[in-house]
Assembly symmetry: C2
Homo-oligomer: 441 residues x 2
């Protein structure tokens, strides 16, 4: 087998075999196939696309390029949830405890990565003492005992994907649906869950901006999951404005805790209930979405979800006083009130601009070695559809540095659109994709 | 300017500007743009093509990536001839002396390279003492005095092309007409001629196998030449069967000398006259093809062409006794007679198979460091259209090694097709491409 022949085959529009895709991924991971041949193959894939079969082979090969996490020691059906990422997305923090409180094991591997705010791990580190440095045995034991644990993602999880992703980023080959889907799914599959729930974000603040391509990505990932014999469902959810009210690490942890206490913002609460219901379905705890939502609502109302969250934080070294009294969590030195210059309706809050503003405040990482300021961020006072009077507060900017605030405000000016007429609201849930088809809502 | 943006622009089907193409070629030559970005851009170019303007910019940038040869010291219009390569193509050796004998300066830079047989320089080295190690001053002086000189191609001629060509070879991006045309023309333009005659081969033994793509390449190169203000004409000529009768280094030199003496094979003699006529037109020595052919025929008949050839060889250290008595030239130890197994007409001699057989005998280079056996090769006894009787000799195999002969014979078995009916002959000249349009013959 020769890599040049494989490049030519794909370039000429032919299908690659499992053996050819394995040869490429193995060779590239080991370094016998150089970057310049990989990048020309990626560009050929961009133009000629990959079939569902090829995409599954690619994903499987990337999954097998490193360690496969074995979760067999955990009792019950392990359901993993993955979000394609958005602004103000603190879902994992609240949802994990809710689902665990329903008796479903939540064994979450999470990364840090780059972004507008930190990842789930960074956010949770707002709670002093909390650590994700668990051995795999301790991780499994915690899940069996408390039903939930979060550990840092090992470096050896799908290393082929890591290498390919860096290459795609600098060779103009990021935006191909098979490569995107394969990248996400190879890591999820290597992490060892039995079933996977995908939260595919769509809109201004999402990786996929338009509805059609979001559904395409959802379909592609569900197809891979099912070909790899894992029950997989994708929910396409809105990310045109930020999720909830809080953007920033400790601000989001506060909001997640409030939501676990039953006092969360409406959209975020609804999203947790919806995603939670599908996780319960995948875990075969319930058979309908209604049943699932009800069960989630009950564990919140009874205080069971909050109790599980506290046990989880304590089991990983975190100080639970910070959960009981969220005012103890990191706070910025200053708060600036962003006021509306017009009277009318908030008809747009561009999630991407809000995210970049949060990044400029210091809430996220631009480079791998950037240091996150856990206390800064943005707290929305209005959401799309709300009426606003001139001079009324649109959002509170939590900041520590005057210059950073100025830069963030510049960005925030572009984020808002205030109109005379009340806007038509986008749905929170755009549709569900499963192996039985697509249900657009 | 960013190379990722340039890759994305081309990938998305936009035209690149002169500045962007210069940025790419300069960066790639200097090494600030790595191979993996160059190869993904090349693959994007393969799919999205380049306009005539982009192709000219690319060629100019590659031309400017190294030394530009200054031939201003040579009197008269310098016409360069370039062949896209084929089997048995010894044209430069005979044609150079013919045109020089007509008073047109021939200042030829030639390479060695890989191939079925050696390049022009290798072939000429069959004559003991002959050397192409000339300084540029000596080269110019020789051309002014004798009207012809051949020197080895400097390493610094269009280095960007050399680097890109090696990359294209291993990344599945060779066969794009703009990249092929730019590669050839950048070196021709850097070599400093005033006018360029291109011999674009077509057929089984050519780089371009079919007539349409051969004309496309011809048009592309003529377009570049004219955009770069050099009079450029392309002639599409046949390379379905080998040119002439001799394939192999010293065998071809013998045939070229015989042709200079007026005793060459019909097709090769005709090709020299045709190409020579167009070189004389480009040099403004004559104004019609008929006039040009006549002038070439006269310098052969009068012995002037042979005289110039001898002076040229002598001026570069070669022993002219070998020209007077060609039996002195390198000879193989053995000759094997390949006989026909059937009676009928020779209806095909696949040039590619003959070329590979010559390579297997040791006449060419498979790798850069291969050593050429100047004495071996194939001498055809029949050409397409000839009648042949069972047991009659089709070709003589000149060889030095029994095993190599066996391997070559295996290949030669596929080369011949003998049929009952006389085949329809392909024309030697398929058409002429100039800035005034295409004249298909």
């Amino acid at each position: 087998m020769s890599i040049v022949d494989i490049i030519l085959k794909k370039r000429n529009g032919k299908f690659l075999s499992k053996e050819e895709i394995d040869f490429f991924i193995q060779g590239y991971t080991e370094g016998t196939i150089p970057d310049y041949q990989a990048s020309s193959l990626l560009m050929a894939i961009y133009f000629q696309k990959m079939s569902k079969e090829e995409t599954a082979y690619l994903t499987e090969a990337m999954m097998n390029s490193g360690q496969l996490v074995n979760l067999a020691g955990i009792e019950g059906i392990k359901v993993d949830k993955h979000s394609t990422g958005g602004v103000g997305d603190k879902t994992t923090i609240a949802l994990g405890a809710m689902v665990a409180a329903c008796g479903v094991p939540v064994a979450k591997m999470s990364g840090r990565g780059l972004g507008h705010t930190g990842g789930t791990i960074d956010k949770l580190e707002s709670i002093p003492g909390f650590s994700v440095e668990l051995s795999i045995d301790q991780f499994i034991e915690n899940v069996n005992k408390i039903k939930i644990a979060v550990m840092g993602q090992t470096n050896d999880l799908a290393p082929a994907d890591k290498k390919l992703y860096s290459l795609r980023d600098v060779t103009g080959t990021v935006d191909n649906i098979s490569l995107i889907a394969g990248s996400i799914m190879s890591k999820k599959l290597a992490a060892g869950a039995d079933a996977i729930l995908l939260d595919v974000k769509t809109g201004n603040g999402a990786f996929m901006k338009d509805i059609d391509s979001s559904f395409e990505l959802a379909r592609e990932m569900v197809s891979i999951g099912n070909k790899m014999k894992r029950d997989t469902i994708a929910i396409v959810t809105d990310m045109d404005q930020p999720l909830g009210l809080a953007i920033g690490n400790s601000l989001e942890v506060k909001e997640a805790i409030e939501t676990l206490k039953g006092n969360g913002p409406e959209d975020f609460t609804n999203l947790c209930e919806e995603l939670g219901a599908y996780m319960l379905i995948l875990a075969k705890k319930v058979s309908t979405v209604e049943e699932g939502k009800k069960m989630i609502q009950e564990v919140v109302k009874s205080g069971e979800a909050l109790k599980v969250f506290k046990k989880f934080i304590a089991s990983q070294g975190g100080d639970v006083d910070y959960i009981e009294n969220i005012d103890l969590l990191p706070k910025s030195n200053y708060v600036y009130e962003l006021k509306s210059e017009k009277t009318g309706y908030v008809s747009q809050i561009k999630a991407m601009d809000i995210g970049i503003a949060a990044l400029l405040l210091g809430a996220g990482r631009e480079r791998k070695d950037s240091i996150i300021d856990l206390s800064v961020g943005i707290l929305l006072n209005k959401k799309v559809g709300d009426s606003v009077k001139k001079g009324e507060i649109l959002a509170n900017i939590h900041y520590n540095d005057e210059l950073k605030k100025v830069l963030a405000l510049e960005k925030l000016n572009y984020a808002y659109k205030i109109t005379k007429d009340k806007p038509i609201l986008r749905p929170l849930i755009h549709g569900i994709v499963s192996d039985t088809g697509i249900e657009k809502i």
